[in-house]
Symmetry: C2
Subunit: 259 residues, 2 copies
């Protein structure tokens, strides 16, 4: 996926915007800026920022138009991981093979770093060059939805579509919709992007289950659901006024992954 030169350039735009959205290294209080920068890391796949930037291009906008919203969705995503890892939640001491934020900085600073990442996510979203109010509203909807999904998940809900739609698809939808607004998309374009991203998010989650060997409906049915959602996602791209190829490429890269 990142062999594609367009997508490689999007990744550079995203990394720069993410760094700018965070407090500067050593900015006071240093324990907070350090924990936030550690949480967001560098060199990640940045799937959601790439979707956001490619969505701007798909509606005819420039990649740069979506830089701030792309940073916003990545900060929001990472705050949810910081809080999910806490002892009172999933109690994970490792994240991506390194100590999780609470394991490294302590519980109090992990709670606060997560809180501060959510705040900075909204600061970045408000800097969208177009439709900042709609961009913020889309982010806020996902920010609430992802918590609702986590609450049901922690409570052991068996309503798989509810949990997947909120825990996973909501952030994909926000990424695409924010990019669409930032790129100047019409209401129709936003609707298409929403359908695309919802189905992509669901397909991603089903795939995850298959790769983890933990499919809620058995592997065969889960694979069929993933295929169905993938087809629905790609079909939704038809009719967008810009170049949907990078968005389709990201979707394929995501759904053909083997890890």
């Amino acid at each position: 996926m990142t062999d594609n030169p367009a997508i490689k350039s999007y990744l550079a735009i995203a990394e720069k915007a993410i760094s700018e959205a965070l407090p500067a290294e050593g900015e006071r209080p240093a324990s907070l800026s350090d924990a936030m920068r550690y949480a967001v890391g560098t060199g990640g796949k940045r799937i959601r920022p790439l979707i956001c930037i490619a969505a701007s291009v798909a509606v005819g906008g420039r990649p740069e138009d979506a830089a701030r919203p792309a940073a916003a969705i990545e900060l929001l995503h990472n705050y949810t991981l910081v809080h999910d890892d806490l002892p009172a939640m999933d109690n994970d001491e490792l994240r991506r093979g390194k100590p999780s934020v609470w394991a490294k900085f302590g519980e109090a600073d992990a709670i606060l770093a997560g809180d501060a990442l959510q705040a900075r996510a909204f600061a970045a979203a408000a800097m969208s060059p177009r439709s900042a109010d709609a961009v913020v509203a889309a982010l806020a909807e996902a920010a609430y939805g992802v918590v609702a999904g986590q609450v049901e998940d922690v409570a052991g809900s068996r309503d798989v579509p509810f949990v997947y739609a909120h825990k996973t698809a909501d952030l994909f939808v926000a990424a695409a919709v924010m990019g669409g607004f930032a790129g100047g998309g019409s209401d129709d374009d936003i609707r298409r992007l929403r359908t695309f991203a919802f189905n992509l998010g669901m397909a991603f989650q089903y795939q995850d289950d298959i790769l983890d060997g933990d499919s809620p409906y058995g592997e065969e049915k889960t694979a069929a659901l993933a295929k169905e959602a993938t087809d629905a996602a790609l079909a939704a791209l038809a009719g967008l006024p810009g170049d949907p190829a990078p968005l389709a490429c990201i979707a394929s890269g995501l759904l053909n992954r083997r890890v």
Copy 2:
């Protein structure tokens, strides 16, 4: 203060907007909406929402213009209390004489309810009828600042002005600035409101120390600092184009409190 009929009417506007900004009672997942509604409560003093609404009036706007920003600042304030009370932070089992959110709903749901309150705060801010991007940016600045102040406080910082400015004054500033933007204030008006609210917040915190019998500089010097900040706050109201009387009344009510 709430004997004043104008301020009484602002309180009604604030309560309605706060209720509308929260998930409906019993909305799924019910444990989340219940915890959020419990955290925000009813019948509180709603100091920050009143400042927000009075700031709109002080720049010549209508009280209703600031309804959504007023709800936003109250949700944000309450999320910070929910997280501050957590066992990993202040470990408070009581808040306003009732079980704190984690004591009643458990730690995981308290973390998540706080997170969701922050998300809903930004959703409400984005619905400002004017300058939604500036309203969201002001809220985001305070949302980050209040965490920075808390980090220093938890770490036992002796830099009292830094901690007070961020832990307390930042939310007062956001309340006034958001109300000013929502009411259509000019850049000059916003600057005045910022000076007013910063000094009000500092005075409020010094007063708090005196009432708690725990003044960082000794009672006499703290009282002098409180007086100085109060004077600076009230002086900043001169020159605002609307009616600053309700804002002055809220400030006086706050600074003459005995509990």
